[in-house]
């Protein structure tokens, strides 16, 4: 824009609006300003944008942000919270039991999603939302309507919603389900915003109303589309949904700003809020990329990735019209500036923008009742026994065919009662008997998660890293057949690293293993600890972890990353003791050229099965793993 910033204004009269909003966009943008803008954009087009993925724990900042969203949305807009444990009947809709019994015919009730049509739903602890629920939400976000086939009913209702998903996961938690995260256009991070950073709102409710009316008129010039698509590619964002969402965000931004055409500030904003948080690569420093794929940015802007100051301000004071090339550059720069600073390090580790590894091991909390797991049908039985839950629909269904008969019976009994001088009760609408009761049957799939901890240190690399890799590959094939999850931890040099968080994708497992370099010291304790932490997490999720250690047991680097054989060995033993205490099944494959007593000791300390690799062939390894899994 031509006017470079006067400070974040709130919206004024229409004549000034252009200036004020462009000021907001181009001015010094703290993290709060971006978050507040995201709130305003969401309010302009909740369904079109899908929603906002908010990283941040509950607290004053998040409350303030949420309040801002609510204030900006037109009054009476549904603003509903979806609790984590919501059942499908409330989420999608189902049978209204009370009304059904009263009416004597099935009466449907709408679910939360249908009730929120035109509004916004809030998802606290989105990282814990089950994959199935996330997929259902994703379908609703895609279709703008909720369809369900359940409880003997076919439900179809408009549900043009936007979602605010709060990612409250810690470092070692899984990220929010990909299917959901992908459909939420805006990704913002509130974790680094302190309450004192909270600034003014970028817009007020009347601005939103005006923007909504304007939205359908806003056009997107080809250059902006081109620039956004190009930037997405350059940042390694491949899904086609993302540039689409970015275009919609740019359009909402233009509408908010009171313009009928998307300009470069809107596109830059979209790049910052939509593309940057999803970046999997930096355009700079990517050796192969720039030449072939991104002609618009022959030399990527040199500024170091910072996430606060927008470095492209200098572009603004020249002229209004930028050439397409310049535009693409501005937008890419905007996105780049917002790419998390640690991304490069993550990319180097071959991990992309995923959260990973370490601290906060949790113990205990591993008991589950018989009432958990996936529902798998029903059986006859009394509710309340062993916590069994009544399945109303199936109960009614089993009672239904008998109603006429039972009513007749009831009448007979009533007649007899009257003869004997009693006043019989009125017959209930539905005569349900004890035999009719159906309770939910749950099946808890105990998924096995096999965690491979591979010693990639110099001593191991020298001898048998290749063989160890081969052994792991054999085990992977086994896991594939059993549909286990696998995770890979490698330890070498100064510490241990989760190469692959638990996954079912064997291709990824294999790739991560193939990339594994060898060399360096043996931080055995760190390896055991990291593997044990993954095992704890798996157990916490109700899975049965199996630890497979491939090492020669010769520790020489301690937990602090410093050398020292004796201390390292002692720490490794201590870590192994914790594995035993946690009760994880374990297997130690001794990779030393000759069976090493230290590996055996480690196995004993872990209460693990010990198997020297020199004598182990494929079959015995896989047998041993299976035995350990039992």
């Amino acid at each position: 824009m031509s006017q470079p910033a006067a400070g974040p204004d709130t919206a004024g009269p229409p004549a000034e609006q252009r200036e004020s909003a462009s000021a907001t966009l181009a001015a010094v943008l703290g993290p709060w300003d971006d978050a507040a803008l995201a709130a305003a954009l969401l309010a302009v087009d909740p369904h079109g944008l899908g929603g906002v993925l908010v990283r941040g724990l509950p607290g004053p900042v998040r409350d303030h942000w949420q309040e801002l969203v609510r204030r900006l949305l037109p009054p009476e807009t549904p603003f509903r919270k979806i609790p984590l444990h919501i059942g499908d009947d409330r989420l999608l809709g189902g049978l209204d039991l009370a009304a059904t019994l009263r009416a004597g015919r099935p009466v449907a009730q709408r679910g939360v999603l249908a009730e929120s049509d035109g509004g916004v739903v809030l998802l606290p602890m989105a990282e814990r939302v089950a994959t199935g629920t996330a997929a259902k939400l994703a379908a609703v976000l895609d279709n703008g309507s909720v369809g369900a086939e359940r409880d003997g009913l076919t439900l179809k209702a408009e549900a043009r919603i936007g979602a605010v998903a709060y990612d409250e996961g810690g470092e070692d938690d899984e990220p929010v389900a990909g299917a959901l995260a992908e459909r939420l256009a805006l990704h913002i991070d509130l974790t680094r915003i302190a309450p004192r950073d909270i600034g003014e709102a970028p817009a007020e409710a009347p601005d939103i109303v005006a923007a909504r009316q304007r939205l359908c008129r806003v056009t997107v010039p080809d250059d902006a589309v081109k620039a956004l698509c190009g930037s997405a590619l350059a940042l390694g964002v491949y899904s086609m949904r993302i540039p689409l969402l970015a275009v919609r965000v740019a359009r909402a931004a233009a509408a908010l700003d009171g313009r009928d055409e998307v300009d470069e500030t809107d596109a830059a904003l979209a790049a910052r809020l939509v593309l940057a948080p999803r970046a999997t690569q930096m355009p700079a420093g990517q050796e192969e990329e720039p030449a072939e794929q991104e002609p618009e940015e022959p030399e990527p802007p040199p500024e170091p990735p910072e996430d606060q100051e927008p470095p492209e301000e200098s572009e603004d004071d020249e002229q209004d019209q930028l050439t397409p090339e310049e535009l693409a550059e501005v937008i890419l720069a905007a996105a780049q500036a917002a790419v998390p600073p640690n991304l490069l390090a993550l990319i180097q580790a071959g991990l992309g923008p995923k959260r990973r590894k370490t601290p906060a091991g949790k113990a205990g909390a591993r008991k589950y009742g018989a009432t958990r797991g996936r529902p798998s049908g029903t059986r006859a039985g009394m509710p309340g026994q062993n916590g069994a839950r009544l399945n109303v629909i199936e109960t009614l269904r089993s009672a239904a065919p008998w109603q006429t008969l039972r009513r007749r019976e009831f009448e007979m009994m009533a007649a007899r009662a009257r003869e004997e001088g009693y006043t019989p009760a009125n017959p209930p609408r539905v005569l349900v008997r004890r035999d009719d009761f159906r309770v939910m049957r749950y099946r808890q799939r105990t998924l096995t998660t096999t965690i491979f901890a591979v010693d990639a240190s110099g001593s191991a690399a020298l001898h048998r890293l290749a063989e160890a890799k081969g052994a792991v590959e054999l085990l992977l094939a086994e896991c594939y057949v059993r549909r286990d999850q696998v995770a890979v931890v490698a330890f070498r040099g100064k510490g241990a690293e989760v190469l692959l968080p638990p996954t079912r994708s064997l291709v990824r497992a294999k790739r991560s293993l193939a990339r594994l370099p060898g060399g360096g010291g043996t931080p055995l304790a760190a390896g055991v600890e990291t593997a044990a932490m993954l095992a704890d997490a798996a157990a916490h999720h109700g899975q049965s972890p199996v630890l497979v250690m491939l090492t020669d047991g010769r520790a020489n680097v301690g937990l602090d990353g410093k050398g020292g054989r004796a201390k390292a060995q002692a720490e490794a033993m201590e870590a192994a003791g914790r594995v035993r205490l946690a009760g994880h099944s374990a297997l130690v494959l001794d990779t030393a050229p000759r069976p090493d007593p230290r590996a055996r000791q480690l196995a004993e300390a872990m209460d693990a099965t010990y198997l020297p690799l020199p004598q182990a062939d494929a079959a015995s390894i896989s047998q041993a793993v299976q035995a350990a899994a039992k």
């Binding site: 703008g144 990909g178 899904s239």
Partner: protein
């Protein structure tokens, strides 16, 4: 859901589009599985297909919208129409494309006791489910890998037999359920059991376009569609009609398309080279090639037809080697090169 995105406006993804058309021409192909990354237009394509399919003639009042040509004496309950009646009333209806929502319960899928009639009148009546609704059409399951295993088993069984048999709650009903199962899924979210994969006739892999111009075009068209759905659909109506006409013509031509001995032999050689189990691969390959020939307006299946559909027809039938990095697609391509390589030269 409002207007569907026009089929012909979908940029690229030729393999997926063709597989869907093949299934529309010859429903006996046994379903299509679409695997691909998120945001590649899997659902868009299926929903677009629904809008594109030519209408079909069905018996009026029959919940299974049977073809008036099957003169069955008694249809399955609750249908009361006498299908053998010479004065049978028929009507034209759109080919059903039924969406199976995630979280659907088994009773709604297969059909169950009609709760309303049971509650209100104490009658034991059958209420048809989604499978009945999908008869003679398509059943689409997004994220098929998230569906409960027992439901997937059931669907595949019905899809293969063309008949839905209900034995539950004292009901004993069998009704026709011939439909093309279209599944889509993202392999990152869990793989499908190999046994299930094999039951799909065609398997398609879609990937995100990495070409900038293609991507820009996708975004532009989508954007144009979102701003003015009706106008956009009208703009593409002619192109869609053309596809629809091709489809209708191909359907009529299909029975006459000839499959020469040589093509059958090539199919067998290809399957042997790939070590696919059973005969399903060859059969599907032959049928798919015939459908492609029909779509092409050809009267005889040529090597090129075979070659074109071989990846879709075979890639999911290979003995799975989870550690073979090259993936099934590459293996099929290799085998095709071996088997067809010579033939192609000879043809020229």
């Amino acid at each position: 859901m409002g207007v569907a995105f026009p089929f012909s406006a979908i940029v690229g993804q030729e393999e997926m589009k063709r597989a869907l058309l093949i299934a529309a021409v010859d429903p006996s192909i046994g379903g299509v599985m679409v695997f691909g990354d998120r945001g590649t237009g899997k659902s868009t394509a299926v929903r677009a297909l629904a809008a594109l399919l030519p209408e079909m003639v069905a018996v009026e009042g029959c919940p299974y919208h049977r073809d008036p040509a099957d003169k069955v004496k008694t249809c399955a309950p609750p249908c009361t129409v006498d299908h053998a009646d010479p004065a049978l009333r028929t009507h034209r209806i759109p080919v059903p494309v039924v969406d199976l929502p995630l979280g659907a319960t088994e009773d709604r899928v297969v059909g169950a006791l009609d709760l309303e009639r049971a509650l209100a009148h104490g009658e034991k009546a059958f209420e048809p489910g989604l499978l009945a609704r999908a008869n003679r059409g398509f059943l689409y399951i997004d994220e098929v890998n998230l569906l409960e295993d027992h439901l997937v088993d059931l669907l595949l069984d019905v899809a293969a037999s063309g008949e839905n048999v209900i034995e539950r709650e004292g009901l004993s009903v069998r009704h026709p359920a011939r439909f093309v199962l279209v599944g889509s899924g993202n392999p990152e979210e869990g793989e499908l059991r190999p046994q299930l994969l094999d039951r799909f006739g065609l398997s398609v892999e879609v990937s995100t376009p990495t070409d900038l111009d293609v991507r820009i075009q996708v975004v532009r068209r989508r954007d144009a569609f979102e701003r003015d759905p009706e106008g956009f659909v009208a703009e593409w109506a002619a192109a869609d009609t053309e596809v629809r006409d091709t489809l209708s013509a191909a359907k009529q031509r299909l029975p006459q398309v000839e499959v020469p001995e040589q093509a059958l032999e090539t199919a067998s050689r290809l399957c042997m080279a790939l070590g696919t189990d059973g005969l399903r691969g060859e059969l599907t390959l032959m049928r798919a090639a015939r459908a492609v020939a029909a779509l092409d307006g050809a009267e005889v299946v040529s090597q090129a037809h075979m070659r074109g559909v071989a990846p879709s027809a075979l890639r999911h039938r290979l003995r799975r080697d989870p550690l073979d990095e090259s993936g099934s697609t590459a293996r099929v391509a290799r085998a095709i090169e071996e088997v067809f390589g010579g033939a192609e030269v000879a043809a020229q």
